[in-house]
Assembly symmetry: C2
């Protein structure tokens, strides 16, 4: 095992700039290669070696990893290769190269959370999702950079398309590794925006399933009613197969029984109606990104899908108005719920945690239980408002981030587009099907709580429409 | 710090047998001594030294601890002593000697869960409840024996009144330490019966508050919708002050805002009506314990409280019938929810976990999500049935365990009396106010969810009635 302490941003790291083309990404899909694995024309070991070659070439520029175990990965990939050859893979993800955000527990690899308190720390157990994937044959390649405790200071990771830009956060390393072709799947977490945003910035697919529908056991706790397991993958098939594999083997976070669905992406479903949402993020979205989004909406409308928006539908206008005012109560929920464990970390000494964590704790200290209950009420009202669309539309279409990755390494970007569905608790997909400024621009398809498979069918249709194969 | 690896039962340990008298227990109350601390006639340091002397004398016979740090405890007790002398204690528990079950995370002391996988392991953070108590000035004395992962093989702990008997489990060491006068408070956990049962066996007070009302962060997860923080204390005042202190500083497990109440035990409340419940445990309760319970019921009735029972009230008869049939679905809830982390522990090798854990995993493997949902439905029906008494009675009175501690070290006793209120999710107190066979016999006062203070007022009345001060 190679153990790399988390480093600050390295100003002397190699630079690179690649133009993003949605039809020719750096991604390395795994599940879509099942027929080739079965036929023996390629193998999980071959995919892994491609990932490793990419790591060896690009990791100095991108800095996605904090630890990896290539030797163990090669052994696991060979075992998977044997099972595919024997016609008996354990699952569609048997042999899939997977990286794990360093906020998620892994047996045999440290979990360090980008804070010196946890230097070299080991949980001695796999998180529920890691265990499920491992039991299904997936190859756990290594641990990836997170911002401090998924909420504080940024790590060293750079964007795979432009190393002068952020990879986003807090699942910085998982998104960069998948976006760069170093792995087919990256586990992340999302408490405000931490999966969809980095995936969008790095040109990767992502799914934040219904809250609770994928077991969160072994994710370092931050804010329990907001914390989601996030899946970042090289294709819609990869994230969906991983989600269903985790749900079948680990279930949901009790009392949620777990996401339901088939291992295969459901047949693409052309929605009769979609709701277009601009949210607070529209104001900060650059003109070229707005234009790319408008063009996508037009192409969807051209298939016959009716697009509800704030201009043609009162309920949509009302929802957008609500979404422009969620930042404060989202901060209250996060601050109150994250008092523990953040205060336990700060007890090691105030100098042991960054300024953002100090600020969150100070916000919580200004609150009382009444303020928390008020924030819960606001969220419940938002959820009811979204649920009221269930009879009228198949889902929601919005950007996954307000433009391409920002040119800033200290800031992991705006949360304004991913935040709403974190609060709603329903499924949200990021699709890397748009580009702006020659960089990835993510599109978000969001759905209704506990209807993850329906949202996936819409996402598949949108992907096929905007990115014909 | 003295670090003691968890040992098996030592057959050569010293033996002892003490007669239990509810009016003269070994308990070492702390909160009731506030006036003396203020007056300077005793100090937290003095209380600690009494605890330490008891540990030095009795620990070889009782084996309650797996680790302690007496040096740090003395420093903390002196600081608390200074604050009381200055008239500025941080809280009613400032200086209280507290022990912590080895399933609960502590900074600076290992958390080993009575399994070799976790030998010497440190969480590097305090659980929410530990942090809250520490911030309120409590003295964290050490870590106490748990059964394996709070659900498997027993540890070496013996009953403080009869070392030939179990101290109960899974919070074996916390109950024995408090019962023996080695600490004023012990933190435990309860997923089926693990706090009320050992407290009852060891002659200690206990509170299992409403599920979620005390923050469970940093309790090693077992079955999230069943896992409760448990408080075992030397008096009702000790457990209640600790509960309110934890709630005020840590809140509840999100989204629960936290238990509400005053730091002082509410004024004793003579209930107009109490519901007497015998549950499945009655059948296994020895005759002398039944007689002690009947006598207690008579004394309560003599105060003017009306006692509903299965003979005089149809709804009570119906509830008892329900309670006689909860074992199977309780096992289903536990097995399904505990798949993770138990499967992650078993992944270290099947020989690394005990037979009970293997059995639970096997049970879960025979279940599907439908079976889990059916168990959740059964629990919801039980909760509704209990809630229907809210207008008719102030609470429920039943035994806390089906007799005194069993004479068996491999078995920690029957769960039949504590299990119902674990499932109900409401508050339940154990009061060491009865005796049978010269051993402690616990009485349970159970209440309605989120009305913990009301249940405490009833518990205070029952204690004062049965144990006049």
């Amino acid at each position: 095992m190679t153990f790399l302490p988390v480093q600050p941003l390295d100003p002397a790291a190699p630079q690179r700039r690649l133009a993003y083309h949605p039809a020719r990404p750096l991604l390395r899909p795994f599940v879509p290669q099942a027929a080739a694995f079965r036929a023996g024309t390629t193998t999980p070991r071959t995919v892994l070696e491609e990932c490793i070659a990419t790591i060896e070439r690009d990791e100095p520029a991108i800095a996605a990893f904090v630890a990896h175990d290539l030797k163990a990965a090669r052994i696991a990939a060979d075992e998977a290769t044997g099972r595919w050859k024997a016609g008996a893979p354990l699952s569609p993800v048997d042999g899939m190269p997977v990286v794990v955000k360093d906020m998620i527990e892994t047996a045999g690899l440290p979990t360090q959370m980008n804070n010196p308190i946890y230097a070299g720390w080991e949980s001695r157990r796999d998180a529920a999702a890691v265990l499920a994937l491992r039991q299904a044959g997936a190859v756990i390649l290594g641990k990836t950079v997170t911002t401090e405790f998924a909420v504080g200071n940024s790590g060293p990771t750079r964007n795979p398309y432009d190393t002068a830009r952020t990879s986003g956060g807090s699942s910085s390393g998982s998104a960069a590794a998948v976006g760069a072709g170093m792995a087919s799947l990256g586990l992340g977490t999302q408490t405000h925006a931490s999966t969809l945003r980095p995936a969008a910035y790095c040109g990767a697919y992502a799914l934040k399933a219904t809250h609770g529908a994928l077991h969160a056991g072994g994710l370092a706790p931050l804010a329990p009613t907001l914390d989601h397991l996030g899946l970042i993958g090289a294709s819609l098939e990869d994230v969906w197969a991983a989600a269903v594999t985790i749900a079948r083997r680990a279930g949901g976070t009790p009392p949620h029984p777990g996401l339901a669905g088939t291992l295969a992406v459901p047949p693409p479903h052309r929605p009769a109606t979609l709701v277009r949402l601009d949210t607070l993020g529209w104001d900060e979205t650059p003109e070229s990104s707005r234009a790319a989004f408008e063009a996508a909406i037009e192409r969807l409308a051209a298939t016959g899908t009716r697009i509800l928006d704030a201009g043609n539908d009162e309920a949509t206008a009302a929802l957008e108005a609500t979404l422009r005012d969620i930042g404060d109560f989202a901060n209250d929920l996060l601050a109150w719920e994250a008092r523990w464990p953040l205060a336990a970390y700060r007890a090691h000494g105030p100098e042991m945690v960054g300024a953002r964590i100090q600020d969150l704790l100070a916000r919580a200290e200004r609150m009382d239980a009444g303020a928390y209950l008020a924030a819960l009420d606001r969220r419940a009202a938002l959820r009811a408002q979204v649920a009221s669309f269930a009879g009228r539309a198949a889902g929601f279409v919005l950007l996954a981030a307000s433009g391409p990755a920002v040119q800033d390494h200290a800031w992991t970007g705006s949360r304004n587009y991913p935040l709403p569905w974190t609060l709603v608790g329903g499924p949200a997909f990021a699709l890397p099907v748009l580009e702006a400024e020659d960089l990835p621009l993510g599109l978000q398809i969001a759905g209704f709580a506990d209807r993850d498979a329906d949202a996936c069918a819409v996402a598949a249709f949108v992907r096929d429409t905007l990115l014909p194969r």
